[in-house]
Symmetry: C2
Subunit: 219 residues, 2 copies
């Protein structure tokens, strides 16, 4: 399945940045940690950062079952979920052509409130395993009460677009010839730091491999 099946998910500008391969959508979603959820509350847009997880062509989002934003998003209203990875700052010979290298996915759809107990549990597992691979089995699994306190939303990935900017600045030829400014890309990369144990852990509790040797970020 290719991406961008509708008008609003087909970029009109800078088409060379658009990607049409669904694998690029999956790779971006699977390598990032935070999405920005957009919804309409009281006739105004609201954008909130939140975790997510992907299972095939379903994106799971969650929050407290008492959160106003989650309640609004679950009422069959349109939402938008955007995931962005920043890759670098593009220094150009002209101020005008300064830019960012990045990859972003924009997903449009209507959220479905997950009500089936087993799917709430499944959605939470997908979320936890995305945030912290290996943690579902390693940690205490949710009680009925905890699952009841969790609102899980499901969003189809059918209507999605991916944009990517890579490479050097797009300076005008006249500037390349005449302007002596440095031009190029200053890359940005995200890294895991050293695990910080909870103060209540026994001293010298070993860091398990699924945390201490977690896959590199953005990979």
């Amino acid at each position: 399945m290719t991406l961008s099946p509708t008008a609003r998910s087909t970029p009109r500008r800078l088409r060379e940045r658009a990607r049409r391969d669904r694998a690029e959508l999956y790779a971006l979603l699977d390598s990032a940690l935070v999405c920005h959820l957009g919804l309409i509350l009281d006739d105004a847009p609201v954008v909130l950062p939140t975790g997510y997880g992907r299972d095939g062509d379903t994106l799971y989002l969650h929050g407290s079952s008492g959160a106003a934003s989650l309640l609004a998003a679950s009422r069959a209203t349109p939402i938008c979920v955007t995931v962005t990875r920043l890759d670098g700052v593009v220094y150009a010979r002209s101020a005008f052509h300064h830019s960012l290298n990045y990859a972003s996915a924009v997903i449009h759809g209507t959220a479905r409130a997950v009500t089936d107990y087993e799917e709430v549990r499944h959605g939470l597992r997908v979320l936890v395993e995305h945030l912290a691979p290996g943690s579902w089995e390693h940690s205490r699994q949710p009680t009925h009460k905890e699952l009841a306190a969790t609102a899980v939303l499901a969003l189809s990935l059918v209507e999605a677009s991916v944009k990517v900017r890579t490479g050097p600045p797009a300076d005008d030829a006249a500037d390349v010839a005449a302007v002596r400014a440095w031009a190029g890309v200053l890359p940005v990369t995200a890294h895991w730091g050293t695990p910080q144990p909870c103060p209540h852990l026994p001293t010298n509790a070993p860091v398990p491999p699924h945390i201490g040797r977690r896959s590199p970020l953005g990979a």
Copy 2:
């Protein structure tokens, strides 16, 4: 001036994560590079990543003067701008208490389309200097034609909220006593990589100090 002067910018849940100091808003905005702009297009929310810059209590956004999203945002409609810094993954003893450490700012308001020529130039300067400090003077400055092709929006920072989560997991006391899972924080940090010169630069063109010794990210 404190933050959160209106109901929608006053967090209702997890109030302990709310910050009321305007300096925290400025520090977060000044240390991040990308914001997520939310607006309403055809009755649906749209969330787009974009650059920005701050001058006092004004946030400047920009884009091509032909971009549909920028045109929509400039028509005195409500917008929301969110900036998020991810600080780490919180591993808890229970799957339920897994979380993220982060700082986020959510700004509500109505964008003002900047039409005054000198303010367009000023807004672009603020944007470029935020993205690439030192670049405005180092590179060729915009022509009249380039400024005419740039749509600049101004957004007041008056209605803004900041949320921050830090520290170890918030496990239940019973889990701390009984569950043997590792618990703590796996930090995430962003770093500059090695500058990648544009292929059209002369060989061995030196990297100027404002790029090669740029301040650390997130600082």
